[in-house]
């Protein structure tokens, strides 16, 4: 397969034909994977609504990228560690992180209301600064290799992230020490307003693996089964001591960069609409229906279950109080607070507490990227 060729299993019912479901993915797996997609989609749509209602902060939606997340995660063993970015913000819920904790994080809560213990789920904290989590994933798999325990790691990152020095250093360390890390690049073709064609001179991301003597695999990022297959193979390679793999999940960012972003400023809606029919949830439903594995009512059941799950999380979120002032100090050190914290907290406690300001109601309008910027009146 040439670097430009894209691994795909699911057709689109039209010009793209269906391929055989790869070995290792039985009917139960297919249904479970679909169920995961539905959970992610449900969370994402609900989160956008919550943001519109001002109940959470700026939200980096991932509508359309569910397959890159669920497919890759489904290929992991329970003990494997995954390293998400803001774009995989809710991947943790598939490993047991409470929905309310994820929503709490997006609501701007610190402490246990917004953060979890990564060891409980083998899910690293959501990484906001671009590409900086990649060396962590490498270090983790490297440590596992030193301990010879078969744990692998997987990190998601965007097309834009490949431009950062940390991407290079992580890829290089991983390949030199032959560690079991899967570099899962979600090439959604946009980094906020910058198209991938301005991000790099190669036509694919996969081919950049050559610089590290590492396999570079291109898959259809809208195809969860292809994502699963590539990841599964990469993990097996890694566990066999053959080193890391770069996977490029080629897709398209169907939504805005985040709820504060207006893509009309920099790209053509028509292009987005051309990609939309390939989105994974509807497509996998149709694919599994063609296979006779899934019917409408089962899918409906998944959806109900996911809605309940998210609704329960939202309810739980609303029952959680905004963290107190001590949250500023409580978790900075695990070795006990230095005297500077005691003085800081004392100063704070002598103040009347400011009530939490609700997130501002977003107004469509100027592009403010990451931040729901308070507008002047």
């Amino acid at each position: 397969m040439s670097a430009a060729e894209v691994l795909r299993v699911m057709g689109d019912g039209k010009s793209l034909e269906d391929r055989a479901v790869p070995e290792g993915l039985g009917e139960k797996d297919l249904l479970e994977l679909f169920r995961w997609l539905v959970i992610l989609r449900t969370f994402d749509e609900r989160a956008v609504a919550l943001q519109r209602q001002g109940r959470i902060g700026t939200y980096p939606l991932y509508w359309g990228e569910e397959g890159t997340q669920a497919g890759a995660l489904y290929a992991c063993q329970e003990g494997d560690w995954v390293f998400p970015t803001y774009r995989q913000n809710s991947i943790g819920i598939l490993r047991g992180v409470p929905v309310a904790t994820i929503l709490g994080w997006i609501r701007g809560y610190g402490g246990p209301a917004g953060f979890y213990n990564p060891r409980d789920y083998r899910v690293a904290p959501i990484c906001v600064p671009i590409a900086t989590h990649l060396p962590h994933a490498v270090g983790l798999a490297w440590a596992a290799k030193i301990r010879n325990d078969g744990t692998a790691s997987l990190a998601w990152f965007g097309d834009g992230a490949t431009s950062e020095g940390d991407f290079h250093e992580a890829m290089n360390f991983a390949s030199v020490f032959k560690v079991a890390t899967v570099f899962f690049c979600v090439n959604n073709q946009w980094a906020i307003s910058t198209p991938v064609t301005r991000q790099m001179a190669t036509s694919t991301i996969a081919e950049r693996a050559a610089a590290y003597n590492m396999p570079g695999i291109r898959v259809d990022g809208f195809d969860p089964i292809a994502c699963w297959k590539a990841t599964r193979d990469a993990l097996e390679r890694g566990r066999a001591g053959e080193g890391p793999t770069l996977i490029e999940a080629y897709c398209y960012r169907l939504g805005a960069h985040g709820t504060a972003d207006d893509p009309k400023l920099y790209r053509d809606d028509a292009e987005t609409e051309r990609w939309r029919p390939l989105e994974p949830v509807g497509r996998m439903f149709a694919f599994l229906s063609r296979l006779g594995v899934l019917d409408e009512s089962t899918a409906e059941g998944y959806q109900q279950e996911a809605k309940r799950m998210v609704a329960d999380g939202v309810k739980q979120l609303e029952s959680i109080e905004q963290p107190g002032q001590d949250v500023l100090f409580d978790y900075v050190y695990s070795s006990g607070p230095p005297w500077t914290f005691q003085e800081g907290l004392a100063e704070l406690e002598s103040m009347s507490r400011q009530p939490e300001v609700e997130p501002p109601t977003p107004s469509p309008g100027p592009n403010t990227g990451d931040v729901e910027f308070p507008r002047e009146p």
């Binding site: 700026t58 609501r107 991000q199 949250v327 500023l328 100090f329 103040m351």
Partner: protein, 331 residues
């Protein structure tokens, strides 16, 4: 302030075709805060450039452009994303003049929207200015009013040495009415009309009882706190808006402290080894005998900037500033 900065960029690019703009999302969208809006259309994509996502590369290539003789202006998208470029700034931008007998300074402006109060995600609210003040070879400035924003940005562009231009994003949208008129700032000369703006403080509010020394988004809060002090206990606080973080305007600082006999420093950044420590030391060292009380500090705490639901707990509030002032006044 956004409009004033945008205006300054328009003027500078018009005036001098050596001025180029680099950054993430600065061209097509005009920057996530719209500071660079309209510049791509007017000056083209050779001079207004959406770069790859790599802060060290952005600052590093800007240094190369500066060596060539261009006047690059770099936008760092958010405060904490300057850290990947820290090495290039500290080790090269700051030391290029030193390495070239001052013949080839790395003339450039690095614009950094900074600070909290906009309910942003993690790492979008840091205040890194003290890092730069401690790294020799840089000028570090921070405007607070739209008028200063425009004039100081033009002066920074005209300045031969590298300038870290801190923009208090919390007050980006404040004071739109004050957009300034054209001034006589000339590019390419260190003696431009605005040069003194880069090293001198400004009195934001007059007073003789207490000197409140601050910069950036806390300036209006200090002015508000001064109003409270006036109403509550008839105290006239002088608010000094530093404008220049390095070098500090030591005359304005010490003379204000000495004149009032009491002083308070306010900033958002963590306390330890922040600018407040430097300012407090300078005052004590020089005019301790004129002081009726130790200099107070109201600052951020020595913790990571919190998740935004608690940012008001972190940020110096009017109440905390008043309390800090009272402590100094009642010593």
């Amino acid at each position: 302030m956004v409009e004033a900065l945008n205006k300054a960029l328009h003027e500078a690019m018009e005036l001098d075709d050596r001025v180029v703009l680099l950054g993430e999302d600065v061209a097509k969208t005009g920057g996530v805060f719209r500071v660079t809006a309209g510049l791509l259309d007017k000056f083209g994509d050779a001079r207004v450039v959406d770069t790859p996502l790599a802060e060290s590369g952005i600052v590093g290539t800007a240094i190369g452009m500066s060596i060539y003789g261009l006047l690059p202006i770099v936008e760092i998208q958010f405060d904490a994303f300057v850290y990947p470029a820290f090495d290039q700034i500290i080790v090269h931008a700051a030391r290029y003049a030193w390495r070239t007998n001052a013949e080839l300074p790395a003339t450039m402006v690095i614009r950094i929207p900074f600070g909290g109060g906009v309910r942003a995600p993690e790492l979008h609210s840091d205040s890194p200015e003290a890092f730069f003040a401690h790294a020799p070879g840089l000028k570090v400035v921070c405007p607070t009013t739209p008028s200063d924003a425009r004039d100081m940005l033009l002066a920074a562009i005209a300045h031969p040495d590298p300038v870290i231009f801190m923009e208090p994003k919390r007050i980006y949208r404040a004071g739109r009415q004050e957009v300034p008129e054209d001034s006589a700032v000339t590019l390419g000369s260190s003696n431009g009309a605005g040069a003194e703006l880069l090293s001198t403080a400004r009195v934001a509010r007059a007073g003789e009882d207490l000197a409140i020394i601050t910069y950036g988004a806390t300036v209006p809060l200090c002015v508000e706190a001064a109003g409270v002090l006036e109403r509550q206990r008839d105290i006239q606080a002088r608010v000094v808006d530093l404008r220049s973080i390095y070098p500090l305007d030591v005359k304005a600082i010490t003379s204000s402290a000495a004149a009032c006999g009491r002083a308070l420093v306010v900033h958002e950044a963590p306390r330890t080894a922040g600018m407040g420590a430097e300012i407090s030391s300078l005052i004590h060292e020089r005019v301790m005998l004129d002081l009726e009380a130790p200099v107070g500090r109201v600052t951020g705490f020595d913790v990571p900037f919190p998740q935004f639901a608690n940012e008001e707990d972190y940020l110096p509030s009017v109440e905390r500033i008043v309390a800090g002032a009272n402590k100094v006044l009642d010593f």
